[in-house]
Symmetry: C2
Amino acid sequence: MSNNNNDNLIIEKLFKPKSIAVVGASRNLEKIGGVILSNLVKNKFNGKIYAVNPSAKEILGVPSYPSLLDIPDEVEHIVVAIPAEKVPEIIEEAGKKGVKVATIIASGFKEVGRADLEEKVVNIAKKYGIRILGPNVFGVVYTPMNLNATFGAEHIHKGKIAFLTQSGALGIALMHWTSMEKIGLSSIVSMGNMTDIDAIDLAKFFEKDENTKVIGLYLEGLGTGKGHEFIEVFSEITKKKPVIALKAGRSERGTRAVASHTGSLAGSDAVYDSALKQAGVLRASDVEQLFNWAKMMAFSESFEINGKGFVIITNGGGMGVMATDASEFNGLPLLEVPEELKKEFRKTMPWFGSPNNPVDLTGQSNVQNYIEAIKVALESELVSGITVMYGEVAFLDPVELANGIAKTLKEYNKSRKPVNVVMLGGEKTKMGTEILEENGVPVYPIPEKAISSMAALYKYSKIIGKANLKI
Amino acid sequence: MSNNNNDNLIIEKLFKPKSIAVVGASRNLEKIGGVILSNLVKNKFNGKIYAVNPSAKEILGVPSYPSLLDIPDEVEHIVVAIPAEKVPEIIEEAGKKGVKVATIIASGFKEVGRADLEEKVVNIAKKYGIRILGPNVFGVVYTPMNLNATFGAEHIHKGKIAFLTQSGALGIALMHWTSMEKIGLSSIVSMGNMTDIDAIDLAKFFEKDENTKVIGLYLEGLGTGKGHEFIEVFSEITKKKPVIALKAGRSERGTRAVASHTGSLAGSDAVYDSALKQAGVLRASDVEQLFNWAKMMAFSESFEINGKGFVIITNGGGMGVMATDASEFNGLPLLEVPEELKKEFRKTMPWFGSPNNPVDLTGQSNVQNYIEAIKVALESELVSGITVMYGEVAFLDPVELANGIAKTLKEYNKSRKPVNVVMLGGEKTKMGTEILEENGVPVYPIPEKAISSMAALYKYSKIIGKANLKI
């Protein structure tokens, strides 16, 4: 909302407060204030935690006070988990206490026609210089500080993706989903009504945050008159970090659904599409794709792309064809392998394999074939990036293969080429997938998703002018 | 390849032989003949099993003989797991033995330039009236008979989907994947070089097979001059059962990759696309989508669709918008909910919910809200089908919800409306997913996949003239 440095410092307190207080804390885990406090405590937040509750002296080991003003310490960030009607009073108290930022969980404001109540809260906050996240949010997560001030999932898988969401239910569901899928997050922020802190403010924080490599955004609308600022700010951010947006309300009827959901004037999708493009923001078509792309970006060490085209290495011709189709549809240029390089690839495979691109090691290949073929691709200046594909077969153990690929990439990927892997199979293959991802190699279950993610990285490389392909 | 009834009876022996012999059986599980025998034994094939091995008297409890001719019993189906050069000799023996059908596992034929050897095998087989699957295949699975005559995954999840694949490596990987994902198969067949038995022959079997509700097809090419027959045969099959094809080689470069992989003259994709459309075959864009759609078809009790449009029930506005977008993009007509029905929906939700379509029960809904809303949708004649969506939240247990939805559908879905469910969340949600699928309700992880699958069902209903929507 505002550009000055002081405000940026204050927003930092949302993620890195020295102390946080849960107003409406409870020992009842069926209450929102109970879950938030429990998530803070169980995640071992790297700061002080206080509870505000009219009657308790201590909840879950956390000291509890009847009011904010009773806390015998500075409080930088409060999470307000009480009914909407009582929020203005608490913000008044927070002002007196010198609180910097308030996350207002309660719904019952603008989204249900109570713009008056929301305005009242905003005016009090302004008077004291308090920044507000919300209202109508599930809270905020910032894993580098072990901060989980949400009533969402308790466990978060740590990583480099920051995800900002305008839909609360979606965000909570995705907290659970990313944890299960072991997709690593630096942060997840519920933006709710965006009465003060909005996507622009938050993205500015993540632009500088060294714990975040890629920003994901679920948007339904920007707020009236925000388009120009969005383009301006995000154009700068995307020069430093990839931003991937899922803008819902793309269809005519979807636009109407947005209006009924958030009350945002959704505006025509063409306008958003053009704004996102101008700002250098990549646009995903569903949440799974958003996280597929984000994983690729988060695991990549460089966005500089050289050479003359991408190479696919596979143990199955069918998967090779699928990847080839996907490359063309996603605008990923495949290398035309010259004779000399073909000779090199041929040495890595059974005699009936194919050194063309896709490089087909055949279903009878072994770990050594993969390692050798990957080395050839890594060492050739012609190769821009590599997608390695494995379809589970009886005679090639996916766990051994995963270890082999991870080791080879660590030792030989000196030029930091983008590499991703397809692992299509069952339980054993899933174990291989986990080994690769623990080693920083992004893995996808089918060729199309790997290629789409590689193409997204290539697209981002072009956006920031780091793609130097000689095609 | 041939149309007469006798041939159809013989192809039945591929799936339902009274006895099967593995030629090249071994106790060494690092050999193909070892894995095939082991898979047959461990799956407890409902028929007799014999091994052919020069030295053993018994392998894995199965009686073993030096030659086919030594087996003191009729043998209907042989699986030939010996090197290509020795195959003609075995087929000659099989002819003398009166074998009906031979699955030839070995590669080393047409696909590597040895069309001469393949022709030799075909000629011997013709002489004796033996039908051939392959060569260059991983085998055949038919779960109603507990037949797993492959060197692929040992465990198969039983169900109603038959999957025919021209790519071996892909097929084996998908055996593992479908088992892990609990996608139920009646059969999986590796088609390899299709020197005799081809997709058309196999599909004719599944057309009549009462254990199969939907046929999935991974195709790279049909074989020269087969287009007309394909359209003719599949036009009949699709009147009875949905067929979903993934035709790879869609792009210009993909077409070239097919040629190098199978040696098929791939032909232009437009030609295939038109043939598939004429034949009433649905075309998926990747294997995951193929199985998503197939699952929807396999679980549906009826393909008749009435009413005035589909309804989405959700606990999150964001997911509702995504589903709305997907409906428009996939041609799935959503119901404009009339005032009277809105009143009914309103009774099922908190006051701040929305009775429009998507019907938004809000993040504060409980199991009872879902049950009541689903009942309203099931009981309204206006509703053509229902997508129920759940994003994991702290205060609504997905397992309880899954049980509630399953029970409600069992009791109240008298008109057999198509219903599917989105379950987006973590481990607990996954448990809910499994409960629903065990109860015959297809579940998807994100809105777009559920809507795409519902739209595929609607499209099939239109193809067979059973969609009576009054829009």
